[in-house]
């Protein structure tokens, strides 16, 4: 059965762009062969839609990037951004090295303080004498020497 003009005009745009299924395409083609009015509409629609194709740019403009770079170079903001990018790029490894250095130094400090606490050999004589003097004066020595458990023992004598 041949399609009616109203039906054709509903799907003409899809026929122009070739997105109809083969059966529908065949039916539209047959209709256009016989109907001058629909054929005229088809040709006009095809011509109008082809304008889009003529507007699409296929080749790049060599002056476009030059103009853009020039525009960016003249902008002080750009120079700031580029120098910021560069500074950040340089600073990244420097900051990383600094952080590693700080971490190592802190580690050494912590380790060192613990070793001082337990290593009695590092205290030289003069420091030992000074500490002893302070301990004698404030009676810290006895407390320091006293075993913690003995504090809770009641003396009977």
């Amino acid at each position: 059965m041949m399609m009616r003009c109203e039906e054709i005009k509903e799907i003409l745009i899809f026929f122009v762009e070739g997105s109809l299924n083969p059966d529908k395409t065949n039916q539209v083609q047959k209709h256009l062969e016989k109907c001058q009015e629909c054929k005229s509409s088809y040709l006009k629609l095809k011509s109008v839609l082809s304008i889009i194709e003529t507007e699409i740019i296929k080749e790049s403009n060599p002056y476009f990037s030059m103009k853009l770079i020039e525009r960016l170079k003249n902008s002080s903001e750009t120079n700031e951004v580029f120098s910021a990018f560069r500074i950040i790029g340089i600073l990244k490894p420097v900051v990383a090295i600094l952080l590693i250095g700080i971490a190592i130094y802190t580690g050494i400090l912590i380790g060192g303080s613990y070793s001082h606490k337990y290593d009695t050999t590092v205290i030289d004589d003069s420091r030992g004498i000074q500490l002893q003097a302070v301990a004698d004066e404030f009676y810290l020595n006895d407390i320091g020497m006293e075993n913690i458990e003995t504090l809770l023992i009641i003396e009977n004598n």
């Binding site: 005009k9 509903e10 003409l12 745009i13 899809f14 509409s41 006009k44 629609l45 011509s47 109008v48 839609l49 304008i51 889009i52 003529t54 507007e55 699409i56 740019i57 296929k58 080749e59 790049s60 403009n61 476009f64 990037s65 103009k67 853009l68 770079i69 525009r71 960016l72 903001e77 750009t78 951004v81 580029f82 120098s83 990018f85 560069r86 950040i88 790029g89």
Partner: protein, 191 residues
């Protein structure tokens, strides 16, 4: 492959390499200009807006999340900038018409976009105006989907990603856009 090479380019630009930025511009300028042409229908205006797009890309590159495609992000900027340009142009035209009514119009006005179209043939010029008006009369979403499909030849899936909608929404938007265009063009030829 393209995503990988784009990442390398972005990293170079972020390190301060100006040649890498030039390479990026040369790689994507036709893509961006065609998107802008689809909305503005004027080559000069499209090139001006495309320049704005690349300037925005340059300044915002640090904020760009690299898990997304660079082109998707660039398309979004191009669509937004083009639509904003059209809105401001509409406002200017309104002020212009106000000035015309009160005899305050300047002589050094820019020619209308249609007059500067490369299509010199009268009939072609008329057809160009006709299709541009028909596209401009579409709803914003239909227009975005149709333009990205026709002027940039993008698949529906990529349009969905750019617009942040589902694939079926894009299919529906493009179908309705075509139906509306057909209706408007047919109506014009009937009268």
């Amino acid at each position: 492959m393209d995503i990988q090479s784009d990442r390398i380019l972005i990293d170079k630009i972020l390190e301060g390499d100006q040649f890498a930025f030039k390479e990026l511009v040369e790689k994507y300028q036709t893509m961006v200009i065609n998107t802008c042409i689809g909305f503005l229908h004027d080559k000069q205006d499209a090139e001006d807006i495309a320049q704005e797009v690349f300037i925005e890309v340059f300044y915002s590159l640090r904020k760009f999340r690299q898990e997304a495609k660079l082109t998707t992000w660039m398309y979004r900027i191009a669509v937004n900038k083009s639509l904003n340009f059209l809105r401001s142009k509409k406002r200017t035209q309104w002020i212009q018409s106000f000035e015309d009514v009160f005899g305050m119009s300047r002589q050094d006005q820019k020619q209308p976009a249609e007059m500067r179209n490369p299509a010199t043939d009268m009939e072609m010029q008329e057809e160009a105006t006709l299709i541009h008006n028909a596209i401009n009369s579409l709803s914003e979403n239909q227009r975005i989907a149709f333009t990205l499909n026709k002027y940039d030849d993008l698949p529906y899936s990529e349009i969905a990603e750019i617009m942040g909608v589902s694939l079926s929404s894009v299919e529906s938007l493009i179908h309705r856009a075509k139906m509306n265009l057909q209706q408007k063009l047919m109506y014009h030829y009937k009268n």
